[in-house]
Amino acid sequence: MRRILIIDDEEDIREVAALSLETTAGWEILTADSGMEGIRVAAESSPVPDAILLDVMMPEMDGPTTFQRMQENAALASIPVLLLTAKVQGVDQRRFAGMGFAGVLFKPFDPLTLAAQIAEKLGWVTG
């Protein structure tokens, strides 16, 4: 079973994403409401998550900064991270290119297809 960590400051985004991934894919879901909390949850998870969904715009520590902190932790650096963003401007995609993210997913996501989108981005075989 895949283990996914969702880091987003919006409670309903976390809840809907968790419901979606548990229901449609049967994945185990961990959640965190901030970058700092996400790093803690990921570090304390055993085994570490198979992937992380990371919101871009969060107070205190945004998604890219959270990602950079994770890269400094050897135990977390190899976890694929997918950015979750509602950004309407193309500038962000250029900003994120080359930073090492496994991909970008756009909000609002479709709860019915979120797991399939993640699997496709990460090259996970589903069946």
Binding site: D12, P111, A116
Partner: protein, 109 residues
């Protein structure tokens, strides 16, 4: 992985429950957009309120479609773009969009 058709009745019910629980937050965010639009029409939209409203529009844009309110997401995106400018060039249009957004999400309010 299940097919799309298998997002079952229980899951639909849980999604509806999440929406109901977060509805007050959505209402407050739309109200903030109303206030920002009204302030813009009066030439009184300050930077702080504009940025706060842009943040609210951003969050609405990122969540409404999740519940099936795709038009709400589209309108919120349009509002966010307007509010990200240093000044609102078309206050009346901003007001119209805020009204449309409220109607798209809460038709009877």
């Amino acid at each position: 992985m299940r097919s799309e058709a298998e997002f079952d009745e229980q899951s639909e019910s849980m999604l509806a429950a999440i929406w109901q629980r977060h509805r007050p937050v959505v209402i407050e965010r739309i109200s903030l957009l109303d206030r920002a639009a009204a302030a813009a029409m009066e030439g009184a939209l300050n930077v702080e309120m504009r940025e706060e409203a842009a943040g609210a529009a951003h969050k609405l844009a990122g969540s409404l479609g999740m519940y099936g309110y795709n038009e709400g997401t589209r309108l919120a995106q349009e509002i966010e773009v307007m509010l990200l400018e240093d000044s609102v060039a078309e206050p009346m249009r901003l007001w119209e969009l805020a009204v449309e957004l409220r109607r798209a999400v809460f038709p009877v309010m």
